[in-house]
């Protein structure tokens, strides 16, 4: 059932269309006078409709990985491709949610969700001509994440978990092909986090988009993803890939099944090996 191995990662088991591809991507940048080697030789292929999680310690370059897909930064070596075309800057194919909800405090919930429509071409011009269908869509999305009736509220009137749900809706409103999630539940309490796992799973099943989730919570990664990648400490490398075959829709009870815990221990063990290697080097 479970397969865990340490290899350079390449996945050919799926027949689907490749949506994101990293080809030997490395990234170095200067930060406050220091040369930082953030990513090293990343090869990664993500199929359309897949749910991929990248787990790893803080500061290993997980966020950088997402920013490369979002086009917020460009690789110093290798190339990142979306649907076969190299990423040269931000595109409308991508929606992103961050660790902080990053809602604009001067906009009420609904207007925060609608924000991308005011910017993303070509939706922008349609949106300004006829706002109503988009408002209805935003309200439907808010309903999916159990926030009906909160559309007129200001962000500060919502709890952290609610704000994060609004942030998810905002990332999805322009129907991106790829949803990038940067530790979206990292700042939430355990109960809220597990609740939002289910919300996210529902959204993914409903929206049929590709999700790439970055997290330092291994249980979160296993619960949500089809494929879990483990990233090493800086410079970040992908060191293992594990398939999660627990059927969907998953429930929180699945976290206590033998399959889940076995997989958890397996991956945990891999991380131990990675850490050990790093320890020997230094």
């Amino acid at each position: 059932m479970k397969q865990v191995w340490i290899t350079t990662v390449s996945d050919s088991s799926e027949q689907n269309e490749t949506i994101v591809e990293f080809k030997n991507v490395s990234l170095e940048y200067d930060y406050q006078g220091d040369r930082i080697h953030a990513l090293d030789g990343i090869d990664l292929t993500v199929q359309r409709g897949d749910f991929v999680a990248v787990a790893g310690p803080s500061g290993c370059g997980k966020t950088t990985l997402l920013k490369l897909i979002a086009g917020l930064i460009l690789p110093t070596q290798g190339s990142v491709e979306i649907l076969g075309k190299p990423v040269r800057g931000p595109t409308k194919l991508v929606g992103m949610a961050f660790q902080n909800p990053t809602l604009l405090p001067w906009r009420k919930t609904l207007d925060n969700v609608l924000l991308p429509l005011e910017i993303v071409q070509p939706i922008k011009s349609e949106y300004y001509k006829n706002r109503q269908p988009y408002v209805e869509k935003a309200l439907r999305l808010l309903q999916t994440v159990h926030l009906e009736g909160f559309d007129e509220k200001q962000p500060w009137q919502l709890s952290g978990g609610m704000q994060q749900r609004v942030s998810l809706c905002r990332a999805l409103i322009h129907e991106p092909d790829i949803l990038l999630l940067d530790e979206p539940f990292g700042a939430l309490d355990a109960f809220t986090r597990e609740e939002l796992w289910l919300v996210l799973q529902d959204l993914w099943i409903q929206q049929e988009c590709t999700v790439i989730l970055v997290t330092h919570d291994l249980r979160e990664a296993i619960f949500l993803a089809n494929t879990v990648y483990i990233m090493s400490n800086r410079p970040g490398k992908l060191v293992s890939q594990s398939k999660v075959t627990i059927p969907r829709p998953r429930t929180l009870e699945d976290c206590f099944t033998q399959e889940f815990t076995d997989l958890f221990h397996e991956i945990r063990h891999q991380i131990g090996i990675v850490r050990g290697e790093i320890f020997e080097e230094t």
Partner: protein
């Protein structure tokens, strides 16, 4: 809640002002203070009534120079704050100069302005402008410079250009800073125009006060002061109202 708000917002400060005048009147009468040293509020009021035509004309002049100087300061302060807030290079290049300029007492500039523009309206407008643009520029710059990179990333990841980022995030984020500075700047603008009028003008409340004091019409001098204070309060209240309307989100009632 509603009536409590009105009490603290309007009635309480009103009572404090009335109380101050009562104490003032009381002190002047009990200690028999001479009118040319400290006139009683009643004699200031009498002077206001007696000279109201003249005071009105001078007050309008002062209000006019103040507002023109203030509007120039808003435009210039916004532009400067925008430049300084957005570009670290311009910030570094201009900041010492701005600090130095702001340290100069503006009254020292009035003679220079008089040489350039002669006495009257223009030096008053310029002094009001020079004294009030600095807080606007500094606040706008601070608002922009402290803009969270995460908020910018949200827009950048959607492919927003610089102008869109400014319109959707930079501008609204800066508005609370901007309005806070307007309240300070508008009262400073009065200081500027009155300073200039006392030194180099033949119109305005500042000029009126100088003339009155040279004739020992001390109640009239104080009447001028009261008029300036009243105009300051009214304009401050106007901008406070605008601030509440436009940036209420920053104050979470």
């Amino acid at each position: 809640m509603e009536s409590k708000g009105t009490f603290y917002d309007y009635i309480l400060p009103g009572l404090v002002i009335v109380g101050m005048f009562i104490v003032w009147e009381f002190v002047v009468r009990v200690f028999g203070i001479k009118e040319f040293i400290l006139p009683a509020p009643t004699s200031i009021w009498a002077s206001l009534i007696q000279w109201h035509d003249a005071i009105w004309g001078h007050a309008i002049q002062t209000l006019y120079t103040t507002m023109v100087g203030f509007i120039i300061a808003v435009v210039f302060g916004l532009l400067l704050g925008w430049l300084v807030g957005y570009s670290a290079i311009i910030y570094k290049a201009l900041y010492p100069l701005l600090i130095g300029f702001n340290s100069i007492p503006k009254v020292a500039l009035v003679p220079v302005l008089v040489i350039w523009f002669r006495i009257g309206t223009i030096p008053a407008i310029l002094t009001a402008f020079l004294i009030s643009f600095f807080p606007i520029a500094v606040n706008v710059a601070t608002g922009l410079a402290t803009l969270e990179p995460e908020l910018q990333d949200v827009l950048r990841s959607l492919g927003a250009n610089k102008l869109e980022i400014f319109r959707k995030v930079g501008l609204p984020r800066t508005l609370p800073y901007f309005f806070a500075s307007l309240k300070v700047a508008v009262t400073l603008a009065f200081v500027g125009s009155v300073i200039s009028e006392t030194v180099a003008s033949n119109k305005g409340v500042g000029y009126l006060m100088i003339v009155a004091s040279s004739r020992f019409e001390v109640p009239l001098v104080f009447a001028g002061l009261l008029v300036i204070a009243a105009m300051g309060i009214i304009l401050f209240a106007m901008f406070a109202f605008l601030e509440q309307r436009l940036t209420g989100w920053a104050y979470r009632q």
